[in-house]
Symmetry: C2
Subunit: 185 residues, 2 copies
């Protein structure tokens, strides 16, 4: 951020009076520009024993497999965001279940929220996907999943499926976790 989005003057990065962390400040109009984490909402769509994955058609991680998920938009709920992303990426209708994984990524200011979901009817690749397919557990392309959040959610799912009990899992992915996972990608 270089300029004030309200008045167009230059901003500076400093701790405002009464605050304890630096913000982008506009001395011309007095606006303090707060920046906050974004929610990535998505689903784990299941049909029988199979899970739906999407091969990404866009960067980052183009060509890698992911669960349908994306940035929550203003004016929608978390459940609407998860359903919308599933429709956009996989042209798939789902019946949404419980919130299943909530994963903080503080180093990139994201919070993942993945809901369990039952696939209703067909699917096909949306504009952001190269391919969409159903996978049995032994077919999951573990080596070419897009993000550590996706790997972690799938691992929870296959562990929990053994006892058919799917509690909410809250966890954090650190820069080290992410680097180990993504390498130089």
């Amino acid at each position: 951020m270089n300029f004030c989005s309200q008045c167009g003057e230059k901003v500076r990065f400093a701790v405002p009076a009464g605050d304890d962390r630096p913000r982008y400040l506009c001395d011309a109009c007095g606006t303090i520009h707060y920046q906050n984490p974004r929610i990535v909402a998505g689903t784990l769509p299941v049909m029988g024993s199979k899970v739906l994955l999407c091969k990404r058609a866009i960067t980052p991680r183009k060509g890698h497999w992911t669960l349908p998920a994306g940035y929550m938009e203003n004016a929608e709920t978390t459940r609407q965001a998860a359903t919308r992303e599933t429709w956009e990426e996989a042209c798939a209708d789902v019946t949404l279940g419980d919130l299943y994984t909530l994963i903080d990524l503080p180093h990139i200011n994201q919070v993942y929220m993945i809901f369990r979901a039952e696939l209703v009817g067909g699917f096909s690749a949306g504009p952001e996907s190269l391919e969409v397919a159903l996978f049995e557990e032994h077919e999951i392309p573990w080596d070419i999943l897009a993000f550590p959040t996706i790997e972690r959610t799938l691992k929870h799912y296959y562990a929990d499926r053994k006892c058919a009990y799917y509690p909410l899992h809250i966890s954090t992915i650190t820069p080290e976790d992410r680097e180990r996972y993504l390498g130089s990608a």
Copy 2:
């Protein structure tokens, strides 16, 4: 938003190519300015049979009672945000429990995330609180709670406490709910 925070030129509000909703666009440098909901993280701090509430020292809803909660910051986790807000507003250390209410407010682009918590030791009013106190159920100031999210979380708590079972409650507060609650405030 009137100006591009990257280059300082005027922005326009229009649907970008390949998108399906309007964004603030900068024709000068090509930046698309996405805007997303913010997370309000907080706790329901309990000591024995009592709940900790804070009387707000700041607008909105100055003088009304709330659970400690506030905007999640970049570079922290949801659990850290909830713990930090409890410290800032009530100078209270807590042992965090499970996520308890997740409440979408799509008309104001907020997602509340309130965690159950056990109060550890003392408390006092932080700079954003006029007063902090413990309440038995019959003492809760229902008529002067700050926000419908707080009323809803407390109602879930007292209903669930009867059977000592506290599942995650996901719900939405609509503009009508909010207006009914806040009136002209």
